[in-house]
């Protein structure tokens, strides 16, 4: 028989080994799932992981990788700070929407004026919108002791309804022939978040995400704020002893992660998305939660996890086309990744020993 034995210290090897193991296990079990559905598992796995990078149409897919990974990484970096402090912002999707609405609002109000300050103003408005939306669960938590998981999650649905209202009402394109949705910001030069290097997918949001990775690393390892976050997450009473104000920390974490989600929203709507429609959000805010944990809440880990997750998104689409997999199977595949990661996490804190059978 086997039994689990707690390690005296968490294993460094397995801290970084489990994500790899989780990816491999996801491939195997996912492959079995695809086979059970009557599809060729090897072909499907290849379509997801290989074709977008090195397949015949890779030149189209590679820029898409950055376009998809950018918002995931940006949001996940913000979430990871709160998660380390045991402050659970599950509502990044809502903050992403509100950020996009606030930034797009600035652009649509300025239309058709051309001014180099419009885009920066949109970015600030987007961050502010996400920040304030994230602050709502923080204030309710501090003031009334509500659970920020529930409040932030429910605010996603509020934000979705606001989005829908805006797309059909105040932000509707007056020259849009009655179709819902705003003007296309891609056709408004002062507001367009164009690619910095054409054809690479590298827009300002991707650069911001990369900057957030570096900044997050510095903050986490060199700054008192990162230290306080780690203390608060591991020992709340010790955090008070260290002079950390838990209310302030909750507000900073929820507001800060909201601001980054809002940034992701404004870069998306002014760039790849182009316009406010009621189908604007595609779940980046939720997938970023998986990315944050897959990356071990570590900035560079999140960078890699964000790229991997983007790959499964794009690869999932190719698999739908090439192999004919249903979208639900791809979502199950992505969910498996988090499931296996959490399951294998056991190995970080425990080791498996063979039990001697005693007479």
């Amino acid at each position: 028989m086997f039994r689990l034995e707690k390690r005296p210290e968490p294993s460094r090897l397995w801290t970084w080994g489990t994500p790899v193991l989780a990816v491999v296990a996801t491939m195997i079990v996912g492959g079995l799932l695809f086979a059970a559905m009557g599809k060729d598992p090897l072909l499907a796995i290849r379509a997801i992981f290989w074709d977008p990078l090195f397949g015949p149409n890779a030149s189209y897919f590679r820029p898409q990788l950055l376009v998809k990974a950018g918002p995931l990484i940006l949001i996940a970096i913000g979430l990871s700070f709160g998660f380390r402090a045991a402050i659970w912002n599950i509502g990044a999707e809502g903050q992403y929407i509100i950020g996009a609405l606030a930034g797009a609002g600035v652009a649509l109000a300025a239309y058709p004026a051309e001014n180099p300050l419009i885009f920066p103003a949109m970015v600030v408005a987007g961050a502010l919108g996400g920040f304030l939306w994230g602050l709502i669960p923080a204030l309710l938590r501090v003031r009334f002791g509500t659970n920020e998981i529930l409040v932030s999650l429910m605010l996603v649905y509020v934000a979705e309804n606001i989005l829908s209202y805006m797309a059909h009402g105040p932000m509707k394109n007056p020259q849009g022939y009655g179709f819902p949705g705003s003007r296309n910001l891609q056709q408004y030069p002062s507001a367009h978040n164009a690619e910095v290097i054409a054809g690479t997918g590298l827009h300002w949001g991707v650069l911001t995400a990369l900057a957030a990775v570096v900044l997050g690393y510095v903050l986490l390892n060199r700054h008192l704020f990162g230290f306080q976050i780690r203390v608060a997450g591991q020992a709340p009473r010790a955090a008070r002893f260290a002079g950390i104000n838990p209310n302030r920390l909750a507000a900073l974490c929820l507001g800060g992660s909201g601001a980054l989600a809002g940034l992701a929203g404004i870069f998306e709507v002014s760039g790849p998305g182009g316009q406010i429609t009621d189908a604007f959000n595609v779940g980046y805010g939720f997938t970023a939660i998986i990315v944050a944990f897959l990356g071990r809440l570590h900035p560079f880990g999140i960078l890699l996890a964000g790229l991997l997750m983007a790959l499964t998104y794009i690869g999932g689409e190719t698999a739908q086309l090439v192999v004919g997999l249903p979208a639900a199977a791809i979502q199950a595949f992505q969910g498996m990744l988090l499931f296996f990661l959490l399951a294998f996490d056991l190995l970080t804190h425990y080791r498996i020993r063979r039990r001697r059978i005693t007479a």
Partner: protein, 523 residues
């Protein structure tokens, strides 16, 4: 009176400590027998042996004349011994009946069990609805479940470990009614406590333990609380290890500090007044749960009060946060090492930064100087002889004594004007305890004001200049330790509020009186 349980010459040693040393006593059938002693006196070890959780090294036990050697709690239960622990082991999400069933060796069908719970609980004046979810119950009601678990097994001996520490006064009255009824029906009760007045009202016999030995037995109804406190604390008064110093100006002034309890089992601090001078060691004694934790949090700044309630070197800091108070010169070492004074998963360097960042200047504009932090951790390790592999070791990997040396050293080496320590040597081996006490004395000699909150009266008498007792959130007026008698300590700990300091001559003569032989100490 027939004997139910005889204990003869029981001893039990753990590495470095003799928890029980040649303990003998007898519990009569249908008697409520008190087991008295300070923390660490060996009460818990003794009852664990009776309940089969620990095996004695030497000695024998007899149940109704037959040898009694339980190898596990199940065997003890089979012999009619049941125990209600201080800490409940209940599942909040399950109902009362389900929790009771989980604790039984052979649970009956749920419907029968629910009926039995109703019958027994009402029969003993402890009404309980078997279908309620435990998470919704009060501490008193949860304790009833634990007691019911025992009563359903029809015990001959019921062991209760500090049962009233979580109860309201009304719940205590109900509990005592139940215990008296049980005793009248012939069940013996072994009642562990250090609350003297409770024992006087409830128990017919008492055995007193100190440092693992039986130091006396008495009839609590005919013995004063003071006399029992003397037996608990020890008959010898140790002189402070250093000569009288000349105290400087007031370093810590607490005036009329009143704070409501922050959680349901917390203690309200009521009008605390104290002044600690430079060079003075101020000891605060008292039984756990009388406001020690709350007082430390109020002084450290983790809980804030009115500005003028706490002053450091004359500066009001009562409304300031932890780090402002550190800047003003006040540092603290909380009782709970892991999780409060230190983060278990974090390295010693990170833990050194935890409270030292402000006074040691380990961060500039919020950016941490890790080299300086590591040097500071290494300094603590060297100066306080912390046995560890290095500064990268997680705090949780250190032994209790070594971590306590690190925690106390971290505060002392900041050269504070005021230091407040709560239970500085709790669970620490004798050598480390002596080291920590000496370090506190040395810091006082350099001119710091030192406040030691401790349940260990011996410790306070050894190092403190002044002594005050904390009782139900009130602090007694302080008295000089020199010339303080055990009578007076007993009265102060027992909560005799408003006693005026006696004249020095009177103190001296009372001290002499207490050194006369006590009639209750067995020869």
């Amino acid at each position: 009176m027939t004997d139910l349980l005889r204990i003869e010459g029981i001893s039990k040693s753990y590495p470095g400590v003799k928890a029980n040393d040649d303990v003998s006593f007898t519990i009569g059938a249908g008697r409520i027998h008190a087991l008295l002693g300070e923390n660490g006196a060996g009460k818990s070890t003794l009852v664990k042996m009776i309940y089969g959780l620990v095996r004695p090294d030497n000695g024998r036990m007899e149940m109704r004349g037959a040898p009694y050697q339980p190898s596990e709690p199940r065997a003890a239960r089979g012999m009619g011994v049941a125990m209600v622990f201080q800490h409940f082991s209940l599942f909040n999400a399950l109902s009362v009946a389900e929790n009771v069933a989980l604790g039984m060796d052979n649970p009956p069908a749920m419907r029968d069990l629910a009926r039995r719970i109703r019958e027994v609980s009402e029969g003993y004046g402890l009404p309980l609805d078997p279908t309620r979810i435990v998470g919704d119950l009060s501490a008193g009601e949860r304790q009833r479940i634990e007691i019911l678990r025992c009563l359903l097994q029809d015990p001959k001996l019921l062991i209760m470990d500090e049962p009233t520490s979580v109860l309201t006064p009304q719940e205590v009255m109900i509990l005592f009614g139940t215990l008296r009824q049980l005793a009248a029906e012939g069940t013996s009760i072994l009642y562990i406590s250090h609350k003297l007045e409770e024992i006087r009202s409830l128990c017919g016999d008492a055995t007193i333990l100190r440092h693992g030995k039986v130091v006396g037995s008495c009839n609590p109804r005919a013995t004063s609380a003071r006399a029992m406190a003397e037996l608990m604390v020890g008959a010898t008064l140790r002189a402070p290890a250093r000569g009288a110093s000349t105290p400087g100006k007031a370093a810590l002034e607490v005036s009329d500090l009143t704070l409501p309890a922050t959680h349901p089992f917390g203690t309200t601090l009521r009008g605390i007044n104290m002044t600690v001078r430079q060079g003075e060691v101020f000891g605060i004694g008292g039984v756990a749960g009388n406001g020690q934790d709350e007082l430390l949090l109020a002084l450290s700044g983790e809980v804030r009060s009115a500005a003028g309630a706490v002053r450091v070197l004359g500066k009001p800091v009562g409304d300031r946060d932890v780090n402002s108070r550190r800047r003003a010169g006040l540092v603290t070492a909380p009782e709970e090492r892991l999780g409060h004074a230190a983060v278990p998963e974090m390295s010693l360097t990170e833990n050194a930064l935890l409270s030292g960042a402000v006074r040691k200047g380990l961060a500039r504009r919020g950016f941490i100087d890790w080299n300086a932090a590591q040097g500071w951790a290494a300094e603590i390790i060297a100066a306080f002889d912390v046995r560890t592999r290095g500064t990268a070791t997680p705090a949780g990997a250190l032994s209790g004594g070594n971590l306590q040396k690190f925690v106390i050293g971290r505060e002392i080496l900041q050269k504070p004007a005021v230091i407040i320590v709560n239970q500085p040597t709790w669970g620490v081996d004798a050598a480390a305890a002596a080291f920590i006490r000496q370090a506190l004395l040395d810091l006082a000699a350099e001119g710091a004001a030192v406040v030691v909150i401790s349940q260990d009266i011996d410790e306070i008498l050894e190092i403190a200049d002044s002594f005050a007792a904390l009782n139900e959130g009130r602090l007694s007026p302080p008295r000089p330790v020199a010339g303080l008698t055990l009578d007076q300590i007993g009265l102060m700990l027992g909560g005799a509020h408003g006693t005026q300091p006696a004249e020095p001559d009177a103190l001296h003569s009372a001290h002499l009186a207490s050194e006369q032989e006590d009639p209750h100490v067995p020869t």
